[in-house]
Symmetry: C2
Subunit: 339 residues, 2 copies
């Protein structure tokens, strides 16, 4: 028993006391910002389980730089803005400053990763929503800092993300279960960040195969992420001779673009064409869009906590996959009887 007790981490103490890791850390460091009752609860747990602040743990409080880098491709998009919002709130709570780096295209990324090791300005790096390439990984290694991938799956780094394949299955499965067989996909790919299609595409093919629906390649259009891109893609899909009865879009913004094109063509949603997205963007609720909800703020928060835990010296290189779920609103229904 004593062995396992000896291994209790700050994160464990925090959980036992029912507070965040940052609060626990500050309580143990006698920060005046922690309410007396909260501090008492944390100290009681630390005492009960013989928790002592390890040199590694106290490094968090002292910090070598006291800063974490958050690297993100596009801040103006809801997914990334929300991720950074959540990360910042975790780090702020732990009194760690956030250095923000935006790497919108391949050139930005190259420059960032080239310059990074020369500077040693941070204790950790959070990479938000893009896969790290091999050369970039080598640069990060020179830095000798903790790295966590938020909102993206990585073979080499601990990450917090959703299961894109599952999200895609939920979306396409919904259309299949409504009786659709002519199901189009607008697949979104950012050539600057990740040139190959994601598991959201793979899910489409496997869901169709499972349902015994042959793939019609004319019903798959690949575009960059974004509403205008979705609108254009939908234009292509409407020109296919037997036009689809439903559309699976890789994101809500892409779906909303497709919806505009459908409406402008004088077709009704969902009676003529059903549309489903992925995200549950705040505007999806406002536009009554059926979608697959992913917990974005939660992914950011958990990624931040993972960094804190690693900075405390916990070796646990765990990764987290958060659940997604279908949210049915008014843009999907069974296909019109075709006879």
């Amino acid at each position: 028993v004593s062995e396992s007790v000896g291994k209790l981490t700050l994160a464990d103490i925090a959980r036992l006391a029912g507070v965040g890791v940052g609060t626990a850390s500050r309580a143990l460091n006698d920060s005046p910002s922690v309410a007396p009752a909260t501090r008492a609860r944390v100290l009681a747990m630390a005492e009960k389980y013989h928790y002592v602040i390890s040199p590694d743990a106290s490094r968090l409080a002292r910090g070598t730089t006291g800063r974490v880098a958050v690297v993100v491709p596009h801040l103006s998009r809801w997914f990334f803005g929300t991720m950074v919002e959540a990360l910042e709130s975790v780090f702020r709570e732990a009194r760690i400053d956030v250095l923000l780096y935006q790497v919108g295209d391949r050139r930005d990324r190259q420059e960032f990763f080239q310059r990074l090791p020369a500077r040693r300005k941070v204790d950790a790096v959070v990479v938000v929503g893009f896969p790290v390439e091999e050369t970039e990984r080598e640069r990060l290694e020179l830095l000798d800092v903790q790295v966590v991938a938020a909102g993206g799956q990585h073979a080499v780094y601990p990450h917090v993300s959703i299961d894109d394949h599952q999200a895609g299955e939920q979306a396409v499965g919904h259309l299949v279960s409504l009786g659709h067989r002519a199901i189009a996909m607008i697949e979104a790919v950012d050539p600057d960040q990740s040139p190959s299609p994601s598991q959201r595409s793979a899910a489409y093919y496997s869901a169709l195969e499972e349902a015994g629906i042959p793939v019609d390649p004319r019903l798959v259009v690949r575009v960059d992420w974004g509403g205008e891109q979705g609108a254009e893609a939908m234009g292509q899909l409407l020109s296919v001779r037997n036009r689809p009865t439903s559309v699976y879009a890789h994101s809500d913004e892409v779906a909303l673009g497709a919806i505009r094109t459908i409406r402008r063509a004088g077709l009704r949603i969902p009676e003529d064409i059903s549309v489903v997205g992925i995200d549950d963007h705040p505007l999806a609720a406002l536009t009554d869009l059926t979608t697959v909800r992913q917990p974005v703020w939660e992914q950011g928060r958990r990624s931040g906590e993972l960094i804190l835990s690693l900075l405390e010296g916990n070796p646990a290189e765990y990764s987290l996959t958060l659940p997604t779920r279908l949210v049915v609103r008014s843009t999907t229904c069974p296909p019109a009887a075709s006879d």
Copy 2:
């Protein structure tokens, strides 16, 4: 002539050479990141106008901390995300790091401004989209750094923003010119940031007065910013006995919420009720929303350049007001003939 030449700033040289201030600075400091042709152009302008790097100007290159703080209330909202995106790109170009601070509510703000002077971690502070209160201003003064307000008007700091009164007039004026007289307003106020209504409200009253339309207080609903809030406000407006023929919302997100409520009530847009917003949010184009466009990225970029100019020692405490313009899409039309 020699006097005015002697006063040429780095910003002037940059403009004359057709490059950004950051690029000009790096060119004059022999940074290898500037293309030879660009450097030559900058040096030629500097020579032609006898520009010399002042001790203040070279402070930019050396930097005291090399960091700027960007303080923002909500990162997940498009307006703020876009602002920060633009600011970060200007500072990255100038090799200045961005420390990001999110102050979502009054408590966050108080804590931020309390802790700020103790740290002197930055050379400048950009306050994005909220007015700085008197006590906060005093804390900022202790810091002795440059302060710029991005996307908000301030009596005490240089700022870059739009004219909210003009934007409101463009929106309400559009409804008036279409023949509407029963014009509702959903006014958005963030009680945590700025408890009193903005000039977007004042514009409504003055536009109605100018058109000789008496104000009906039942047609004004005040809510917090956001789509769901707009949806609720619209519910209230639909319950007014003589329901409005048009709605002016303080933002596109609020307008999109109102639109959902109108559609769910079985009413048609724009035939039964016209809706106009402010912003030109990317989803406004996708949802065919009539709105007043404000240049958000541009406000961020100009704010960043203003900081760079101040850091170079330019005394010019100028403020910029960027133009807004009406974008007519399909959510507004003349009111139905009422007889």
